[in-house]
């Protein structure tokens, strides 16, 4: 039986800590870094902020669980930081750019209700341990029988990613990566048009709308902090360009 509230509070605890009301009904996970795979295809993506499309760095979780990505078990008494030393080598060898976990997240990018503090990584108590998440993925209790889906503050996350580039925490992209992304977006417009040859024209237009919007977002994107009127990125050439235009 739970202890009476008065006793709980006098012990410096809250009732929710006793009855588990604030414990997430999910399994614990491992902490992670955020990594930008510099110059890898797909490592930059366009996103709209205040009506302007920007190239933003794609950030992937680099999960620190024993035996993966060079993360090792420390010897007794060994400096815990030695556990990640090989992970950093693995990451660098593969062209990864590690974001410092203590990198500040300015208050303007922190979702409402989340504590402003150092770093982008947060943890919440869950069944049997901690659930680690970035500050923009606010965990919530899962629906019965469903997987927990955090509430993601995409706009704030995008603004923070733009800030990372503007402040020099992530170097601007290689133009080839952007050209590759634009080429892929354009090809998708073409692919949908080809696949829909037998559709009614209204259906065809409807099916083209989404990839066309994506292509427009790619073509309009600028690199954060760069010249506001950059040279236009290279377009598909020859036959492909004609198909896209059609």
């Amino acid at each position: 039986m739970p202890a009476p509230t008065a006793q709980v509070q006098s012990a410096g605890e809250t009732l929710s800590e006793i009855d588990g009301a604030n414990v997430l009904r999910v399994a614990p996970n491992a902490p992670f870094w955020l990594v930008h795979w510099r110059n890898a295809p797909g490592s930059w993506e366009p996103a709209e902020i205040d009506g302007q499309s920007y190239w933003l760095p794609v950030l992937s979780p680099f999960i620190l669980t024993v035996g993966v990505n060079g993360f090792r078990t420390a010897a007794s008494g060994e400096d815990p930081s030695s556990r990640v030393s090989r992970s950093k080598v693995v990451l660098t060898d593969r062209g990864g750019e590690l974001l410092d976990v203590s990198l500040p997240v300015p208050a303007e990018f922190v979702p409402p209700g989340q504590a402003v503090g150092p770093g982008f990584l947060r943890s919440a108590p869950c069944r049997g341990g901690k659930f680690y998440h970035i500050v923009w993925d606010v965990p919530r209790q899962p629906l019965a029988g469903r997987e927990m889906t955090p509430e993601h503050y995409r706009d704030l996350f995008n603004r923070w990613r733009r800030w990372l580039v503007e402040e020099g925490h992530i170097a601007p992209p290689d133009p080839q990566v952007l050209e590759d992304a634009i080429s892929n977006a354009s090809r998708r417009v073409h692919d949908v048009a080809s696949a829909s040859m037998t559709d009614e024209s209204s259906v065809r237009e409807q099916r083209r709308a989404k990839p066309a919007r994506r292509e427009a977002l790619h073509l309009a994107a600028v690199v954060p902090g760069a010249d506001p009127a950059p040279a236009p990125p290279s377009r598909p050439r020859g036959k492909k360009a004609a198909e896209v235009a059609a």
């Binding site: 491992a30 992670f32 990594v35 795979w37 890898a40 295809p41 797909g42 490592s43 993506e45 996103a47 794609v58 950030l59 992937s60 979780p61 680099f62 999960i63 669980t65 024993v66 035996g67 993966v68 990505n69 060079g70 993360f71 090792r72 078990t73 090989r86 080598v89 693995v90 593969r94 062209g95 990864g96 998440h133 970035i134 923009w136 993925d137 997987e147 889906t149 955090p150 993601h152 995409r154 996350f157 892929n184 998708r188 692919d191 949908v192 696949a195 829909s196 037998t198 559709d199 989404k210 990839p211 994506r214």
Partner: protein
């Protein structure tokens, strides 16, 4: 002594003559859990054993610059000397670490229990938990694939799958076989997208795979890529981090426990090949008994220059 006045009611008699509940049969149903073994079907291949090596890190050597990767040079004259060609070499690393799982019960519980879930019973489940651990670590490894081929702003669709197939085929030397491991909802989004394609039929083996092998994680095959699904796949920043790779791109190593020596004092067992050591401890002072499982394992990705691998990062659609 309770007085049960006529008519004698169940609600009055339950406390003295009845019981508040009874178990219906002796069976204990197990709650659903993903029983998908990724060490099958080439999703993870065994690279080796570091026991007795003196290190927790192994290396896999790779080389190029000869054989199919180079050609004979044209010689200008009959007597021009041939300049010897350099070759290139590198290596990938794999680090193993310790993982553990234990169960413990009191003597009182062991004596009074009328169910079969003793620590010995739980010890029999260690291998399943070990394989679940490998699957979880595989999902963590997949999230760190560097090259994404999917549209991260939308849910997985046929266009992504065509882009994936293209990415494999545009990789020099791709042998034509690949597996994918996705979040289950990614598979659902792909299936929905397939339905929406004009004139495109569901992949022929789809239905059969669904029925025959769903417990094995395999959901369907599409464009020649076998698609598996696991709830362990990472979700972060509103995106699911699935992946696809050729067999051999992700491997594991263990520290096989066969060299551990005499553990008979702990009534120990070794699971050969996986590096699992099971030991038991009985403590009369605290009136408890426990069973511990230890293992040494690690996973790694092999260089994409040897085994192509692609991230399939999509919006989670939530």
């Amino acid at each position: 002594m309770a007085t049960l006045s006529p008519p004698i009611l169940h609600s009055d008699a339950e406390g003295q003559l009845g019981r508040p509940f009874d178990f219906l049969g002796d069976a204990i149903a197990l709650e659903l859990a993903e029983n998908f073994d990724v060490t099958m079907n080439g999703l993870v291949v065994m690279l080796g054993d570091l026991s007795g090596s003196g290190s927790d890190t192994g290396r896999l050597r790779r080389a190029t610059g000869f054989g199919w990767s180079t050609t004979f040079s044209d010689m200008a004259t009959e007597t021009d000397p041939i300049v010897a060609t350099a070759i290139q070499a590198a290596y990938d690393s794999i680090t193993i670490g310790r993982v553990g799982l234990a169960f413990e019960e009191s003597f009182t519980r062991a004596v009074l229990a009328d169910d079969p879930i003793s620590v010995e019973y739980l010890a029999q489940s260690f291998l399943s938990s070990y394989l679940a651990t490998v699957r979880s670590k595989l999902a963590a490894q997949v999230a760190s694939f560097s090259t994404n081929v999917a549209d991260a702003t939308a849910t997985l669709d046929v266009d992504d799958w065509i882009a994936l197939r293209n990415a494999f085929e545009n990789t020099t030397g791709f042998a034509g076989m690949a597996n994918a491991l996705l979040k289950p909802r990614q598979v659902g989004y792909l299936r929905s997208s397939i339905r929406a394609e004009t004139g495109l039929q569901f992949p022929e083996p789809h239905e059969a795979y669904q029925r025959l092998q769903v417990n094995n994680g395999l959901r369907m095959s599409y464009l020649g890529i076998d698609i598996y699904a696991s709830g362990d796949i990472t979700t972060s920043s509103g995106d699911d981090f699935g992946g696809a790779w050729v067999p051999g791109a992700v491997g594991m190593a263990v520290g096989d426990a066969s060299g551990i020596g005499d553990i008979s004092d702990a009534n120990g067992q070794v699971v050969p090949g996986w590096g699992i050591v099971i030991t038991r401890k009985t403590d009369g002072q605290s009136a408890t008994k426990r069973v511990d499982g230890n293992a040494l394992l690690g996973l790694t990705t092999i260089s994409p220059n040897v085994a192509p691998q692609f991230l399939i990062r999509n919006d989670d659609g939530v």
